[in-house]
Amino acid sequence: MPENMTYEEWFDSDVLARSISRKEANTGAFSNLKIPMQKRYVRRIAEQYNIDLSGITIKIQRSESMLSLTMTGSTDYNNIGRIDLFPNAFIDEEQLVKTLLHEKRHVWQLKTYGKKYVEENLNRMEEGAYSFEDEQYNLLKKRAKK
């Protein structure tokens, strides 16, 4: 394992993917999710849609029970820049892209307005993030690389 990588980065890296033959599709309870729950796919799709993930740390929560909770993402209010993706974000490309855009907008809000303001204006912040994801998705979808 390279010294400058965490285990997780190494595990997700293309170097490892090429060196072992591993079934990539989601299995078991996750088999209905079209996008493999791996950071490599998150990065690949972000690149296709021209979504900049620099400064963003992504964590994938792979808890089976979370499938029934229908949440797709969350943004860390204290470790600003960290985004958590839940199994339902991987249902299809649209859900993943919209979740990335939505959570990225919250990161921007936290950086721009500060945590206190965001906490006190949750409704407005969410309205902003939902409008942002819709507008951006429609725009980026047309230009996405296939």
């Binding site: 808890s63 029934s68 969350s74 939902y130």
Partner: protein, 76 residues
């Protein structure tokens, strides 16, 4: 993620469990809808004792019973 167990509890048995910050049983959770057409919205799990909370940022709200006003003075 401090509140993961609570989220799993909610998923399994609609109970938010013990507060991961102070250990209190006085926790609750709820959702608010932003887009009535898609039923997409947000939610929170919070502790009524210490006011710490977790923000659920993007969720399709299916749990009708828990659509409620999310308290304003929470610490995320």
């Amino acid at each position: 993620m401090k509140w993961l167990k609570n989220l799993e509890n909610i998923a399994k048995n609609h109970k938010s469990g013990l507060c991961p910050i102070c250990g209190s049983k006085e926790t609750d959770f709820g959702y608010s809808i932003i887009d009535p057409k898609s039923r997409m919205g947000y939610g929170a799990v919070w502790c009524n004792s210490c006011r710490h909370a977790f923000h659920i940022s993007r969720v399709e709200v299916k749990d009708e019973k828990h659509i409620k006003e999310i308290p304003h003075n929470l610490i995320y």
